[in-house]
């Protein structure tokens, strides 16, 4: 295909004879190929194939008129997770007189607690509260744990003074 030239040797002779010089139409395509591959490399390196992953979260609608903060959760079905400083996770069951326990983000930490609760308690509601020392990563991790352990109902709520006191008490001990 590239050999678009016609009759090299004979042509020359003929051309000489007739005066009009017949030039070879053969083009060296090597530089063009070089350029092509250079551009391919450039586009391959700048392209972004992987789109970022996202997590979708739905927050409850903030009702400015009613002062009640959502529905009350049954004490027997509530599990509260508090996120503290230094990747610490505190949790307690129920609402009244809770016993605060400390755990972490490892496989045997909060995940096993959630798995166990999710199995034993029907319609478990997890309340997630982050202290001001918590990192964004902790929040994403705990939301991720919800997805891993298949907890259907959970909410991200503001922390209360009561919870902060509990954490303080545990840390003093």
């Amino acid at each position: 295909m590239a050999e678009l030239d016609t009759s090299q040797g004979g042509g020359k002779k003929k051309g000489k004879k007739h005066g009009a010089k017949k030039m070879s139409t053969r083009v060296d395509l090597t530089p063009m190929v070089d350029l092509g591959f250079l551009l391919i490399t450039f586009f391959m390196l700048t392209t972004t194939f992987s789109k970022p992953q996202t997590m979708e979260i739905n927050m409850p609608v903030k009702d400015k008129e009613s002062k009640e903060e959502g529905q009350a959760v049954k004490a027997s079905k509530a599990l509260t997770i508090l996120l503290g400083a230094d990747n610490k996770v505190y949790y307690y069951v129920g609402i009244e007189n809770p016993e605060l326990l400390v755990t972490d983000f490892s496989k045997t930490g909060i995940r096993s607690v959630l798995n166990e609760k999710n199995r034993t308690v029907k319609d478990l509601v997890v309340v997630i509260k982050a202290t001001k020392d918590a990192k964004y990563k902790n929040v994403v991790d705990v939301l991720d744990e919800m997805a891993i352990t298949d907890v259907k109902r959970y909410a991200l709520v503001d922390i209360t003074d009561f919870d902060l006191e509990l954490i303080q008490k545990v840390n003093v001990q």
């Binding site: 395509l29 551009l39 996202t54 994403v140 939301l143 991720d144 997805a147």
Partner: protein, 200 residues
């Protein structure tokens, strides 16, 4: 013994086929490529097992850096043009045509509205320098993020809101961003994360 004549073959290779392949691939990459947005900030997002992909278009991204500065970005040149017009009208700042054009080409930015004009008059290479950008004010007295959200959504009603936060960001900053969103009746938003394998 007669000499065995080895016919001399030309070392010329027909390049046409290779050229065809090269340009075919080139065309493919040129058409499928989407350049990385020139975000001024580098954030290390936390990882999650979520496999939902972020759509390419109609995205409003709120980027939060490690030190708690907030950057705002929106896709679509014309959306950005409409947005800056509305912001200019709201705050009584007359943006010139060049400034509007400069804004329409800016990815994420993190400057207060008051110094936006100054920011847009900077040369383009300085505009992507994140060190000079203090972030969008977010405190309760002067919450400018809410205006960007409102006018951004007015400029493109189909837009989705994504939060791209650094894993080390303190939670209160994230909370105030989320509160701002909720105040503006945005109760559904995306958190951009890296992919992580689902544990067995």
């Amino acid at each position: 013994m007669p000499k065995v004549k080895v016919p001399r073959k030309s070392t010329n290779i027909d390049m046409t086929a290779m050229c065809d392949v090269a340009f075919l691939l080139l065309t493919f990459f040129m058409l499928t490529t989407k350049f990385k947005a020139d975000d001024p900030v580098v954030v290390d997002t936390p990882s999650s097992i979520s496999e939902i992909k972020l759509p390419d278009t109609d995205i409003m991204a709120i980027t939060i850096t490690k030190d708690g500065r907030v950057f705002f970005g929106m896709d679509g040149k014309y959306n950005r043009e409409r947005m800056i017009d509305k912001i200019g009208a709201k705050f009584g700042i007359g943006f010139t045509e060049e400034e509007v054009h400069a804004f329409s080409l800016t990815g994420s930015f993190g400057v207060p509205i008051a110094s936006l004009k100054e920011f847009l008059n900077l040369p383009p290479e300085q505009r992507t320098n994140e060190k000079d950008q203090p972030g969008i004010p977010l405190d309760s007295v002067k919450n400018e993020l809410q205006y960007w959200i409102v006018y951004g959504r007015l400029s493109n009603p189909n837009t989705r809101i994504a939060i791209r936060g650094d894993g080390e960001t303190p939670y209160p900053v994230i909370k105030s961003v989320m509160n701002t969103l909720q105040e503006k009746n945005v109760n559904k938003f995306n958190l951009i994360t890296d992919l992580e394998a689902r544990p067995k």
